[in-house]
Chain length 203, copies 2
């Protein structure tokens, strides 16, 4: 390659064809699952031949890994931005849950792949994603722990409550949109209120 | 057929081969999704040939419909048994959520197929399942509505709270078992407590 060539793939801006393949794969994985989707279908959804797809991705696993890893990074960034809100544990929990539930509603197709295709990742990709999931759990756990220490919150078990709060947000990908909640804002606001109720100490 | 023959299929006790096929399909659908599973794999998992499978089921859709319909009926029966507990709305809600969450944990492989493969059902099967899902929502909604009327509960929106309570129970199929909650009893008890917190009026 000449000195004018693009740098390593990870440093280049994402190409238009690459983005079309990721969008096609996201839609197919969300609708039919990783195992129910062929590379031929991913390529066809991007108006490309299977051979052309291999210029951009080594394998179907490679496409899934990109979607899953970038999705986890984006979900964690949204959660962390909320969690870093200044204020009481109640305010931080509300902002964190709002942001995390909002992300899952707004990006529900990507988020479905992120949440439902963990078992389809190979060992190396799975390990990278598991670390991000641990960071997500730790972020929520730390707010609930702070609130419990300060007496704002009173819960039976911090780990179980953390699981329940995250579970509520994540399950959005299964049903969103519904008749009752059909905007990311309404999902965020409703689940922030539910989470506060789940943790708060009696008045 | 002679008068000694078995009656119509629906009235016969389920045969051993039929049960093996249902178990094989349940495991495969839960692991790889309906679209990621072939009839050949279902038959192989039951130690049968694909041709032998067609003696028992007309199609892969027919197998999914049986699993989904029977699963929905069982989940609804568990929920209703809890909801019919005598006592206050708080007691009924706790019993209903305990039973529904317990069912999803205890039967998490079946329940994953029940909850994740709705879109794979054909129109006729989908319509039957949707009616059962409406009955499930109505059962929880009616308890929350009773408690709100009696002043035991105070919620912003009965429909949204119903969705959140059911969502918490159903998401069990995604993660069960976890380090924190690894028995159906602990899932039922924890989520019954979470649901009570989500609805109760301030003391």
């Amino acid at each position: 390659m000449s000195s004018q060539s693009a740098g390593p793939r990870a440093d280049r801006p994402i190409g238009e064809a690459e983005q079309r393949l990721l969008d096609s794969a996201r839609d197919a994985f969300a609708a039919k699952g990783y195992h129910g989707t062929s590379t031929r279908e991913i390529a066809a959804g991007a108006n490309m031949s299977p051979a052309a797809m291999y210029i951009h991705f080594r394998s179907k696993q490679d496409v899934l890994a990109r979607l899953s890893l970038e999705g986890h990074i984006a979900a964690y960034a949204a959660l962390r931005a909320g969690a870093e809100t200044a204020g009481s544990p109640t305010k931080r929990l509300r902002a964190a849950v709002y942001a995390f539930a909002h992300w899952h509603a707004e990006n529900h197709t990507t988020a479905r792949v992120v949440q439902y295709e963990l078992a389809a990742l190979d060992d190396e990709n799975h390990a990278r994603v598991v670390q991000l999931r641990r960071d997500i759990v730790a972020t929520v756990r730390s707010i609930i722990s702070d609130g419990t220490r300060d007496g704002e919150f009173a819960v039976d078990n911090i780990d179980v409550t953390t699981l329940a709060v995250l579970s509520l947000c994540i399950d959005t990908v299964r049903w969103y949109p519904s008749r009752e909640l059909h905007t990311p804002e309404s999902v965020g606001a409703s689940f922030a209120a539910c989470a506060e109720r789940m943790v708060k100490a009696d008045a």
